[in-house]
Symmetry: C2
Subunit: 317 residues, 2 copies
């Protein structure tokens, strides 16, 4: 494994926002930028660049609908760490996007299900033409059939996208799945860089990420203290500690955890929580588990397990 072949992309604000409805203060986000920069993290995903016009806002914080004027106030001076935003197909207004030279953003990532890869790549093409680095993040790969994937690869190979991500949306992949997926992506997308975005339902997010990194995957998603939807992500502090690159320093990440994340974890929940673990082992979307965690039955694990494993439930899923 070469010292400098990896890029860490910290998505605490974007993915963690799914947990607290993007209720992060400006000071917190500024502090996160300073900390990640000091830690040597290459990219910070500072939110979604979706359009409030196309989506009910539900009083979400500003990191859900990033605005360039606002971003310039938050991070007036950029350091080494680049800024990234994620967009969802059908939720982004392309007229919202400035050309890169006028933007605080360096990278725009497009999240796509396999059936929408054509639409995703259309967006990628536009962002690419505007000067951005681009990624295509293929979600829910554990539910994709090989023939669909092969078709998508043909489109991807003809697009200018820089990085293609394996997204383990359900937190159901293990090291054998990573081995298989990365081999396949490397073989069929020989010109593209690859990325990994793992979820921690089975306590495998960090392990899967380093196993992929050692196979040559370049872009590695993390979040500080693992903050992210449901079971959360590969933690920034573990990956920064693990990768043998002198640019990385875990100390500023520990500082962020100490000053912010422990208190935040007391207010909102993510991580190894049994309904998320059950959903992960069953290769199911975490939405049913997230729903039950908002009810008085949140710790009725056996009932939840029975619900997910009775044939009627599966048939209606």
């Amino acid at each position: 494994m070469k010292h400098d072949q990896h890029k860490i992309l910290d998505c605490t604000i974007r993915d963690g926002g799914l947990v607290n409805n993007w209720d992060f203060s400006v000071e917190f986000v500024q502090d996160m930028y300073r900390g990640l920069n000091a830690a040597g993290v290459e990219y910070m995903e500072i939110g979604y660049k979706n359009s409030a016009k196309l989506l009910k806002s539900d009083n979400a914080g500003p990191w859900r609908f990033l605005n360039e004027d606002f971003l310039r106030e938050v991070i007036p001076t950029k350091n080494d760490t680049k800024l990234s935003a994620l967009v969802d197909i059908g939720r982004v207004d392309e007229n919202d996007i400035l050309p890169r030279e006028q933007s605080q953003l360096d990278l725009i990532r497009v999240a796509s299900y396999i059936k929408d890869v054509d639409k995703g790549l259309q967006l990628v093409q536009k962002f690419h033409d505007m000067g951005y680095e681009t990624t295509l993040n293929i979600m829910a790969l554990s539910h994709v059939m090989e023939n669909e994937l092969n078709e998508a690869f043909e489109l991807i190979n003809r697009s200018p996208v820089d990085v293609v991500y394996v997204v383990d949306s359900y937190g159901s992949m293990n090291h054998k799945d990573i081995d298989y997926m990365v081999n396949k992506f490397q073989r069929l997308l020989p010109e593209k860089k690859l990325g990994l975005h793992m979820h921690n339902n089975m306590q495998l997010a960090f392990s899967n990420t380093v196993i992929g990194a050692e196979k040559g995957v370049e872009f590695l998603d993390t979040s500080v203290f693992g903050m992210g939807r449901a079971a959360g992500n590969c933690t920034t502090e573990l990956l920064v500690s693990y990768l043998k690159n002198p640019r990385y320093d875990v100390r500023p990440v520990l500082d962020l955890i100490e000053r912010h994340m422990v208190a935040m974890r007391e207010k909102v929940e993510w991580g190894y929580i049994i309904p998320y673990m059950v959903a992960g082992t069953l290769n199911e979307h975490p939405r049913v588990a997230m729903a039950v965690r908002n009810t008085a039955d949140k710790d009725k694990y056996v009932e939840f397990y029975d619900k997910l494993t009775t044939p009627e439930t599966i048939a209606n899923n």
Copy 2:
């Protein structure tokens, strides 16, 4: 990976007792036995068989100094799940041990540092002669030099011990270390079964365990909800879900977590806690982290990190 080549050894009561000073009620332990038996778990480690005469008791619960009369009251009728106890060198009184046919225990495990393997194997020989299954659990392997290990292997090969464990006492091993260790143990101890006892400081306990299992390691230590010293262990619920053996059923384990472990975790702590993570990444014994967690400075992560990484501290360690 064959269906039936693995044995799960749940050590919740023994290793978890290090967290709560073995303060488990008889009803809880009985319920644990029923649940593990229903889950198909092959062994339950029900405590330490050390001698209260040789060790300050500190008001520890009865699972620290197992007594056969007491054990017979707790588990009058055994089912499929066998019972195990751990002993420490210098803390066990051999006269306390009944011949196996008079005992509730099936397996006695001897924990040993590399320098004491000779003493450990002397105990193994005695327990073996009394009819027990035996294991030798070599602790702190991440701090052992190859020449010491090679010497120990010669002694082990001449002993009747059934299983030899790789114990990741510091939670500092990753998949490459497991690969290396298991290959070495398999090559140099060709007649012995192997075991793994992992700690979860870096969220790698489950991953390391399954990677070892796939390489042919037979005995796999777990604990329910990961309850164990410091960062805790590979969780029983994840391993039972993962191994493709129809004898295993995760449902009774979820039931144990729901009825007992969530409340217990609110009273005492274990798991992914930053000082344990830091100690793991630095390959240090968790005792310094455990000490700091009992002080008002328990969440001063940067201070803790600085303490462990300044040269003076290391020199005095």
